[in-house]
C-alpha cells in the first residue's frame, strides 16, 4: 500500500500554494462581496498557469493529469478562497471529453465556461455562472452547450460566482448523457471537497495562531480546554477529510466503481468539516471574529455556501448508504 502523494504531486502542491498565496489576497474575497471586483485570481491567471486544463487531455491542449493532481491544487485554491472554482474546470473537462475544441478553449481560458445545475430554461444557482459566456447543461438527457441570460443573486460568498441562467441557444454535444453527467458531478464533488479541505485547514491554522496569542484571565486562551478541544476536533476533522479527498480522487482516476460512493462520502464529510472549522475560527476570535474586517467570515461564507452546492449532506449520506447496501463496500 502507498496511500500518499507522489513527489511530483507534493511539488505541484507547493507550487500551487506559492501561486495562490501570491496572487489571491483575501481582501479580494471581501471586495467581491462588496461588488467591487471579480473573484481573484480570475479565469485568465488560472488558465495561464495551466490549472484550468490539468485534467484536459494533452491532445486538447491540457496537461492530461489526474483528478488527484487537480485535487492537490484545488486544496491550495481553497485555502485562499480563489475563484473561479477548479470544480468548474474539473466538471467541464469530463463533460467535454467528446468535444476537444471546446476542451481546448476551457484549458486556455478563451471560453468562459460554467456548468448549470437544474433546468436549462431557468437553472439553479450555479457555480461560476455570473461571468461565464458559455454554458453546459443537461436537457432531457442530452448534454447541451449554448449561450444564456444570467441573473446573479446577492451572493453569500462572492468568490463562488453564483448565478441562475436561462439558456438562450442550445447545441447538442451528446445524446443520452446521463451517465457522463453523473460522473462529471461526482468529479466536481471531489474537487469541491478538496477546496473545502483547503479552506477548513486554513481556518484551523488561523484559529490556532490566535489561540496562541490572545490572553484572557491571565492565560493564553489556547490553554483553556474549551478552546483547545474545539480546535483539536476541527483539526481531526480536517486530517480525516484529507484522507477521504485523496481516496475519492484516486477512485476517480483508478477505480471508477468506487467513485460514486467515495465522492459522496468526501462531499458529505467536507460539508461537515468545513462548517465546524469555520464556525470554530469565528468563535475562537470572539468579537473580532464577528467583524466584517476580520477574514473569519469569508471562510465561514464559503463553508455555508459549499455545503449546499452539488448536493447537500443529506443527499450524499443517503447516496453512501444506498450504494453501500447495494454492494459498493463489499
Amino acid at each position: 500500500m502507498n496511500f500518499d502523494l507522489s513527489d511530483d504531486q507534493r511539488d505541484a502542491a507547493a507550487g500551487a500554494r506559492e501561486f495562490f498565496t501570491g496572487s489571491v489576497p483575501l481582501s479580494a474575497a471581501r471586495a467581491a462581496l462588496e461588488g467591487e471586483g471579480p473573484p481573484a485570481p480570475g479565469r485568465k491567471a488560472l488558465a495561464d498557469i495551466g490549472f484550468l486544463g490539468i485534467t484536459v487531455p494533452e491532445s486538447a491542449g491540457g496537461a492530461g493529469g489526474s483528478v488527484l493532481d487537480l485535487a492537490v491544487v484545488a486544496e491550495q485554491a481553497g485555502a485562499v478562497l480563489a475563484g473561479p472554482s477548479l470544480v468548474t474546470a474539473a466538471r467541464a473537462a469530463v463533460l467535454l471529453e467528446g468535444a476537444p475544441d471546446l476542451a481546448a478553449q476551457l484549458a486556455d481560458g478563451s471560453a468562459a465556461i460554467a456548468v448549470l445545475d437544474g433546468p436549462v430554461t431557468g437553472s439553479a444557482p450555479s457555480l461560476d455562472a455570473a461571468d461565464a459566456t458559455l454554458f453546459l447543461g443537461l436537457d432531457g438527457g442530452a448534454l447541451v452547450v449554448g449561450e444564456g441570460e444570467v441573473t446573479p443573486g446577492r451572493p453569500m460568498d462572492a468568490t463562488r460566482g453564483l448565478a441562475s441562467v436561462r439558456m438562450t441557444s442550445r447545441r447538442v454535444l451528446a445524446e443520452d448523457a446521463g451517465e457522463l453527467w453523473a460522473r462529471a458531478r461526482q468529479v466536481g464533488a471531489v474537487v469541491m471537497a478538496a477546496e473545502d479541505l483547503g479552506a477548513a485547514d486554513r481556518a484551523v491554522l488561523v484559529g490556532v495562531d490566535y489561540a496562541q496569542q490572545r490572553q484572557a484571565f491571565g492565560r493564553v486562551i489556547g490553554s483553556y480546554q474549551a478552546v483547545k478541544h474545539m480546535l483539536v476536533d476541527a483539526w481531526v476533522g480536517v486530517d480525516q477529510l484529507r484522507s477521504l479527498v485523496w481516496w475519492a480522487a484516486w477512485a476517480a482516476d483508478s477505480s471508477p466503481a468506487e467513485l460514486p460512493l467515495a465522492a459522496a462520502a468526501a462531499k458529505a464529510y467536507a460539508a461537515e468539516v468545513a462548517e465546524r472549522a469555520t464556525e470554530t475560527v469565528v468563535q475562537v476570535h470572539g468579537g473580532i471574529g464577528f467583524t466584517w474586517e476580520h477574514d473569519a467570515h469569508l471562510y465561514w461564507r464559503r463553508a455555508k455556501v459549499d455545503r449546499l452546492l452539488l448536493g447537500d449532506a443529506a443527499e450524499h449520506l443517503d447516496a453512501v448508504a444506498r450504494l453501500a447496501v447495494a454492494g459498493a463496500l463489499g
Binding site: M1, N2, D4, V232, L244, A268, L317, A324, L329
Partner: protein, 406 residues
C-alpha cells in the same frame, strides 16, 4: 498512490493466509463483532495464541532474540488484518503483547527477558497492566499503592482498578509509589508481579455492557523480590511512559476498525432496512451514511499512517487522533446498527435472540475511556500536534506526601 500490497507485502500476506488456513481447525473463530468472554473460553484462547505463536504470527515486531520475528510494523498490521479476516478473536494476551512485553524488553534485566518473553508470546503466561487506581486514572502519577523495601523484597499494599484480564492473568506490570517524599512523578517504581502470589486478590467488576473483562485487584502485604523490579527505583514514570507509548500505537492503530466494521453495518442494513417503515428508512439511511463516512474517514486516515510507517516513519502523537476518530465512528456505527432494529431495539435482543448490536453499543462508552479518555487525547493533540500551551499544573514539583502543596 495505490492500495495494493508491495510484492514483499503481498508475499507476506499470502504466507499469513496460508498459515491461518493450515491451522484453521486449531484456532478459535467467532462471528464479526461477537464479544468473547476470556473467563469461559480461556483454554481455547490460550491454545489459539500458542498455535499462532508457534507459526510465527505473534510478536511480529519483537526482536528474534526474545522469541519475536524481527518484522516490521507493516507486517504486524498485515497479520492483524488477516486475523480479522479469518475471524480469529483478539489474542488473549493482547495487553501482554502490546504493552507489557515491550516494557520488559525496554527496561527489564536479561534474566527477566529470558524468563518471561517467550512464554508471554505463547500465552503460557497471560499478562495484565496494573496502573489505574480508584483515585488515579487520567492523573496516573497520583497513584498511592505503596511498595516498601524489606531486605531482598518489596512489600506492596494498595488497590488497582479496571484491570483488564487480571482474572486470567499470571503476571502483571505494577506501578507503585516507593518514595512519597518526592514529587509525584519522581517517587514511582515499576515491578513485575506474580498474580498468583499470596496477598493478591482479584475481584471481577461487571461493566455496563454486561461482561466482566476488567477487575479490582487488591494487594495485602504482597512480597515482590527485588529481582522483579523493572528499571531503577524512582524511575517508574519513565518506565510507564514506554508502556503508554506502546498503548497508543496498539490502540490508535493503522487502519483497523475500533468498533464493528463498515462492512458489517452494511450487511446489517441490507437485512434490516426492508422491514422498516418508509419514514424510518429515511432516518436509518441517514444514520448509516453518516456512520459509514466517519468510519471510512478513520480507516483511510489509518492507511495514510500505515504508509508513513512502511516508509520508515515512527508513530507520533497523531496516533491519538486515530483513537479519537475510531471512537467517534464506533459510536455512530453502533447507533446506526441499533436504529436499524426499529422498535425491537428497546428489547435486549431481537426475536431471534440476536443481541450483537445492542452489546456493541454498550461497549462504546468504555472505548472512549480506556487507554486515555477522549479529553486526555484531545489535550495530547492540542499540545503536541497543534502546539497549544500545556495544561496548567499545580502539583508537579511539591512532595507527593504534601498533597501537591508546598
Amino acid at each position: 498512490m495505490d492500495f495494493d500490497d508491495t510484492p514483499e507485502e503481498a508475499s507476506f500476506r499470502a504466507h499469513v493466509r496460508s498459515v491461518l488456513e493450515e491451522h484453521a481447525s486449531e484456532l478459535l473463530h467467532v462471528a464479526p463483532g461477537e464479544p468473547v468472554d476470556a473467563r469461559s473460553r480461556e483454554a481455547e484462547l490460550r491454545d489459539t495464541q500458542r498455535v499462532l505463536a508457534e507459526a510465527g504470527l505473534v510478536g511480529v515486531t519483537w526482536p528474534r532474540e526474545y522469541g519475536g520475528q524481527g518484522g516490521t510494523l507493516v507486517q504486524q498490521a498485515i497479520v492483524g488484518q488477516e486475523l480479522g479476516r479469518a475471524r480469529v478473536p483478539t489474542l488473549i494476551n493482547h495487553i501482554g503483547i502490546g504493552m507489557c512485553g515491550p516494557t520488559v524488553i525496554a527496561h527489564g534485566s536479561d534474566d527477566q527477558r529470558s524468563r518471561y518473553l517467550a512464554r508471554l508470546l505463547r500465552a503460557d503466561d497471560v499478562w495484565c497492566q496494573l496502573f489505574s487506581e480508584p483515585g488515579s486514572g487520567s492523573d496516573l502519577a497520583a497513584l498511592r499503592t505503596s511498595a516498601v523495601r524489606d531486605g531482598e523484597d518489596w512489600v506492596v499494599n494498595g488497590q488497582k482498578v479496571w484491570t483488564t484480564l487480571a482474572h486470567v492473568a499470571d503476571f502483571g506490570i505494577l506501578l507503585t509509589r516507593t518514595d512519597p517524599s518526592r514529587p509525584k512523578h519522581a517517587g514511582l517504581t515499576m515491578f513485575v508481579v506474580d498474580m498468583h502470589a499470596p496477598g493478591v486478590t482479584v475481584r471481577p467488576l461487571r461493566q455496563m455492557s454486561g461482561g466482566a473483562d476488567f477487575n479490582e485487584v487488591f494487594f495485602d502485604d504482597v512480597r515482590i523480590p527485588d529481582s522483579e523490579r523493572l528499571g531503577e527505583p524512582g524511575e517508574g514514570w519513565r518506565v510507564a511512559l514506554t508502556t503508554l507509548m506502546n498503548e497508543r500505537v496498539a490502540i490508535g492503530g493503522a487502519g483497523s476498525d475500533i468498533g464493528p466494521s463498515p462492512e458489517s453495518l452494511t450487511a446489517h442494513a441490507r437485512d434490516r432496512l426492508p422491514a422498516l417503515s418508509p419514514e424510518q428508512q429515511v432516518l436509518a439511511r441517514q444514520a448509516v451514511g453518516r456512520a459509514l463516512v466517519a468510519s471510512l474517514a478513520t480507516r483511510y486516515t489509518g492507511y495514510r499512517r500505515f504508509t508513513t510507517l512502511s516508509q520508515g516513519g515512527v508513530p507520533g502523537p497523531e496516533a491519538s487522533a486515530g483513537k479519537l476518530g475510531g471512537t467517534a465512528a464506533a459510536r455512530l456505527v453502533t447507533d446506526a446498527g441499533v436504529r436499524l432494529l426499529g422498535d425491537e431495539a428497546v428489547l435486549g435482543a431481537t426475536a431471534d435472540g440476536d443481541d450483537t448490536w445492542q452489546r456493541a453499543q454498550a461497549y462504546v462508552p468504555g472505548i472512549a475511556i480506556a487507554g486515555g479518555t477522549d479529553q486526555v487525547l484531545r489535550n495530547i493533540l492540542g499540545e503536541r500536534v497543534l502546539g497549544l500551551p500545556p495544561e496548567p499544573r499545580t502539583d508537579k514539583s511539591a512532595p507527593f506526601s504534601s498533597g501537591g502543596r508546598r
